[in-house]
């Protein structure tokens, strides 16, 4: 959603995805969502449900806590 007033969820999805050499479409297929949804998530314009966060973390071989945070994340760490 482009005008989402709720508390943002920060993430390292793009960093983890690129590290695995996956395209947005690849990750979307693994997580069972549309590739535009991956774009919204990476731009932190959409906060995923817990189920989707778990699916994405699994697809990227990471823990949810490593991938998502309620405070801004330092990229590249």
């Amino acid at each position: 959603m482009s005008r989402n007033p709720e508390e943002p969820v920060y993430n390292r999805i793009e960093e983890a995805r690129v590290a695995l050499g996956l395209s947005r479409q690849d990750l979307a297929d693994k997580a069972g969502v549309h590739y535009q949804t991956i774009g919204y998530l990476e731009r932190e314009e959409y906060s995923p449900s817990l189920v989707l966060a778990l699916r994405i973390a699994k697809s990227l071989n990471q823990e949810v806590s490593e991938l998502f945070s309620l405070t801004p994340l330092k990229k590249g760490k």
Partner: protein
């Protein structure tokens, strides 16, 4: 993989049809999905709906404008062209532009798309309320109209435009609001 094409009767769509719109199978329409182009389409649709509604006041308008035979033909041709564009082309393009999300069943959408769809219906509902108030004010204070009349102002155009707006509004809201579809 099953070749069975599930039909969603309530939404009036098929599984293959929805999946085709959700994926980029119609890449020749990708230009239509840019927000600017979608907004232009919404404005065209709104114009088409207004022109259709104006058909109800054609009899009175004809007298007011003092149209002769040839002017009437031009006026009718323009009105019919707008009507055709709005009903057939505009509605189809709008559905393609928003990937048919407004009409898609929940099981074929992801959670963000479901949220986009549901939010669009909320806005469409609110806008419909304002449209109904406008129609009521037109009925009370506007020129007299009756349904299916060939002598007085024919209210059936207004009815068609209202139904058309009702069907198109959720897609129009998505087309206007969403950055990426």
């Amino acid at each position: 993989m099953s070749n069975k094409n599930k039909i969603y009767w309530l939404e009036g769509v098929t599984e293959k049809g929805v999946k085709s719109l959700l994926n980029d199978e119609n890449s020749r329409f990708s230009w239509l999905r840019r927000q600017r182009n979608r907004r232009v389409l919404v404005l065209f649709m709104a114009m088409g709906i207004i022109v259709t509604a104006m058909g109800s006041y054609y009899s009175g308008l004809k007298e007011e404008l003092r149209l002769d035979g040839s002017a009437e033909i031009v006026w009718l041709t323009v009105a019919v062209l707008f009507l055709l564009f709005a009903v057939l082309v505009g509605y189809s393009l709008l559905r393609i532009a928003v990937r048919g999300i407004a009409d898609a069943p929940t099981e074929l959408l992801d959670e963000r798309q479901v949220r986009v769809r549901d939010t669009s219906y909320r806005y469409a509902y609110l806008i419909s309320g304002y449209l109904l108030i406008t129609l009521l004010l037109l009925y009370i204070f506007g020129p007299e109209i009756s349904l299916f009349s060939d002598t007085a102002n024919d209210g059936s155009y207004l009815l068609i435009a209202t139904l058309f707006a009702y069907a198109s509004l959720p897609s129009m809201v998505i087309a206007w609001r969403e950055r990426d579809i």
